[in-house]
């Protein structure tokens, strides 16, 4: 029989305001095995923990139940406290009477009753707990960063600087990401390329960093400290070692009609291309779908003009398998498609553009060489209208429910830059709210209004009406004046919502990292563990976790790196002792459990079994506890119930069921 202590936490008033904690402790004493019960305002505090430790020693407790917040919060705290007092940490169970009780119920009597039942279930479980000992697993001292934008670059640099090897996997032909497409950055109006390219160069030449561009993660297996990843290095059709980056092939390539991804399809590129001048690596790829040689077999001009002999039409995709201790996701974002917003005439007029397209137009390396002009007729605009929140903050099913966070600031930036460079252009911004929480952000926005005379109108636009003369009639509302406004504009810029990169779902599935309804990766704790995924060993960097601007992205990238470094710095990890364990006397050796094990942790051996004196040689299951992650799939598949899960055994769960239904 266990000697159990029950400790009921008030959590200040978080629990005590709704649950009669004294009564829970009182009732606990009536439960079988319970020899001690008390309540305390903050069980997780030093003093609270001491109370638990004192009781363990004084009353010779063998098991502990803490009625408190979610085990996801403080299970470890209490288990460690118990361990310090000399009992096995796995003899501690938590009854979640905060998140699952006091916070969701209003009626004190009802909540107290429920808390008592949750306490009983935990006591019933602890009565059946057995001491468990964690195993150890090794840590591969290498990190993988998925995505080579500013988030991925920063994370990789920070990990590399700490002395660990890092691989970056980037899907496109060059690292640089979205930031490389930007012209200037807020709130200081730095040139984006000027601050990004040095980082790109640095990461490229760092001895600890290895970059796979034009590559994708194909398969992930293993677990924290010991991931095995297959990376598909797509055929570049160009030998990276031989290419000198002279660019002649691109000049001579006759296939010039492919929309340029880098320039948001505002102009075209050749079939053999580097996305932009500062690309790293400065080695082109052949887009096989556009290449005449690949389509018809004729052409081969690039091969002829390449003096280095770097063109390799027969190059094939390569699969690289590598082991990693930690994985950082930095897959970034894209703008939403505007198919659902035809009232803004995006698909009907070339002069209605997105903000990212405007970035390319404003950029000296962009389709108009940095001249602000209408894409329809090349004329300089006189009136420009910016529309905010296109697809952000929507609760219909057309857009996204969240605020994209960066639009207010980049629109102020665009407005300011245009007014600065083209003082005769009038700029009007239709906004719902201007959101500027950030250092020097509101000042920046105010400068746009006060120093640059940008006309901010509070109200949305209902429709953009292309006119026969090529102008755009913008029908909006001024909510302050309570007037409908008809404004003739030459260009309209839409602040389209941002959304996580399309590939993130696939990647999250491979990593078994959870993802929210908007396809942002979920953090382990919204406030306290914002750069970790709930899946151990997976870290989050940049917009893949939620909308962010550059400074925030860089901070988070650094934070993710620190978390990864903290993991890589360990030589060994304690493994979860809640693993599956077969009862060899009962095992039939039928292999059903091995069929459902996702980790290949179950094997079979033929061995001599001594069943109460009867010796028999037969086939039985055996679990590799270093591989087993404790999901329990095998336990249910096992027809005889020979396979059980330590820490969540059949008897323990049934005891909880019985306690709840009592």
């Amino acid at each position: 029989m266990q000697r159990i202590g029950v400790f009921v936490c008030h959590c200040g008033s978080n629990i005590a305001a709704t649950v009669d904690v004294k009564k829970v402790a009182e009732w606990a004493l009536k439960e079988p095995g319970v020899v001690h019960a008390e309540d305390y305002p903050y069980m997780c505090s030093e003093a609270g923990q001491s109370k638990i430790q004192a009781a363990i020693k004084e009353k010779n407790l063998t098991g502990v139940v803490v009625c408190s917040c979610s085990p996801r919060m403080h299970e470890t705290t209490f288990r460690e406290a118990a361990e310090r007092a000399g009992i096995n940490p796995y003899m501690v169970e938590i009854a979640n009477i905060r998140e699952h009780c006091s916070w969701i119920h209003k009626d004190m009597e009802e909540a107290t009753k429920k808390a008592v039942i949750l306490m009983r279930a935990a006591v019933a479980k602890v009565n059946l707990n057995t001491p468990l000992k964690p195993g150890e697993s090794r840590v591969t001292k290498r990190a993988l960063v998925i995505g080579g934008g500013i988030a991925g670059i920063q994370t990789a640099l920070d990990i590399a600087e700490a002395g660990y090897k890092v691989d970056i996997v980037e899907k496109t032909p060059s690292i640089g990401g979205r930031m490389s497409q930007l012209d200037k950055t807020f709130p200081t109006l730095d040139c984006s390329a000027c601050i990004l390219t040095p980082k790109m160069v640095e990461v490229n030449k760092h001895e600890n960093v290895n970059i796979y561009t034009y590559s994708e993660v194909e398969k992930v297996s293993g677990f924290v400290g010991d991931f095995t990843v297959d990376i598909r290095k797509k055929a570049r059709s160009v030998d990276m070692d031989k290419c000198t980056g002279c660019g002649v092939c691109q000049e001579k390539c006759p296939s010039k009609k492919t929309p340029s991804e880098f320039n948001r399809a505002l102009n075209t590129r050749t079939a053999i291309y580097t996305p932009f001048a500062q690309a790293i690596p400065n080695v082109p790829v052949i887009d096989r779908e556009a290449c005449i040689k690949f389509k018809t077999g004729k052409c081969g001009i690039c091969e002829k003009v390449c003096q280095a002999g770097a063109i390799k039409y027969d190059q094939e995709d390569e699969i690289i398998t590598e082991k990693y201790g930690a994985i950082v996701v930095a897959t970034g974002f894209d703008m939403i498609k505007l198919d659902n917003y035809d009232e803004y005439a995006y698909s009907q007029s070339k002069d209605v553009i997105t903000s990212l397209e405007l970035e390319r137009i404003m950029n000296a390396a962009g389709p108009t060489k940095g001249h602000l002009e209408r894409l329809s007729d090349g004329k300089a605009p006189k009136e420009m209208v910016f529309i905010q929140c296109v697809g952000s903050r929507c609760s219909d099913d057309r857009g996204k429910s969240y605020c994209s966070k960066i639009c207010c600031m980049y629109t102020a930036k665009h407005a300011m830059l245009i007014r600065d460079k083209y003082p005769d252009v009038n700029v009007t911004v239709f906004y719902i709210d201007v959101r500027t929480p950030g250092k020097n952000f509101d000042e920046f926005y105010r400068r746009a209004v006060e120093d640059y005379g940008v006309n901010y109108i509070k109200g949305q636009v209902g429709k953009v009406i292309p006119q026969p003369d090529g102008k755009l009639l913008v029908r909006g509302v001024d909510l302050i004046d309570n007037k409908q406004i008809l404004k003739e504009a030459d260009m309209v810029v839409l602040a389209a919502a941002i959304e996580p990169n399309k590939d993130v779902r696939k990647i999250a599935t491979m990593l078994t990292a959870s993802i929210d309804t908007n396809n942002f990766l979920t953090e382990a704790h919204a406030k306290l563990r914002p750069v970790e995924s709930p899946t151990a060993g997976i870290f989050l960097s940049g917009v893949c976790q939620g909308p962010k601007d550059i400074p925030e992205t860089v901070s988070q990238a650094g934070a993710a790196a620190v978390k990864a470094i903290g993991l890589l710095a360990k030589d060994k990890l304690m493994t979860n002792p809640c693993t599956a364990k077969p009862d060899e006397l009962m095992c039939n050796g039928c292999s059903q459990c091995a069929n459902v094990c996702p980790y290949g942790a179950i094997s079979y051996e033929v061995k001599e079994i001594n069943d109460h004196g009867v010796r028999e040689t037969r086939r039985v299951a055996s679990v590799n506890s270093a591989l087993c992650q404790g999901c329990g799939a095998c336990t249910v598949t096992c027809p005889s119930g020979a396979m059980d899960l330590q820490g969540f055994s059949n008897r323990q769960i049934l005891a909880e069921v019985d306690a709840i239904c009592r």
Binding site: E343, C389, R393, C394, S395, D396, R398, G399, I432, K458, G459, Q460, V461, G462, K463, R475, G476, V477, L479, N482, Q484, I485
Partner: protein, 129 residues
């Protein structure tokens, strides 16, 4: 208080729309073809219901200027659908005896030989009980 309350609730019930979802972006008013004819603008309709000032709404000219063209309903990013609120207010008026906006005796002078039946039928539906 209770009467006012029940009228606001009635409007919410008839319209099936929740004015609390409004984020006050004004896209309804920016889309409304009758905006200039209205004394209470579509986006204000939402606030009036929120604030339970139903008396102003039932006395408003706007009730009879709304075209039910569904532009605000189509474009509202928050699913508030001001057009439905306006129609609900109109229903409250026309459901009261003698409150019809269109009287039978004024019809002859409003129509011409080409007036389609559809026009009369529609106007009757919107304006009368």
């Amino acid at each position: 208080m209770s009467i006012v309350n029940s009228q606001a609730d009635k409007i919410k019930e008839i319209s099936g729309s929740n004015p609390l979802k409004c984020m006050k972006c004004g896209k309804c008013s920016a889309s409304c073809p009758s905006f200039n004819e209205m004394d209470i603008k579509p986006h204000q309709f939402v606030s009036y219901v929120q604030n339970e000032d139903i008396q102003s709404l039932v006395e408003s000219k706007s009730l009879w200027k709304c075209l039910s063209c569904f532009a605000c309903i189509e474009r509202c990013p928050r699913n508030v659908q001001p057009g439905k609120l306006i129609d609900a207010a109109r229903q409250i008026v026309v459901r009261q005896k003698g409150q019809d906006y269109l009287k039978a005796d004024e019809i002859p002078e409003l129509i011409d030989p080409e007036t389609p039946q559809q026009l009369l039928v529609s106007a009757f539906r919107r304006y009368r009980r």
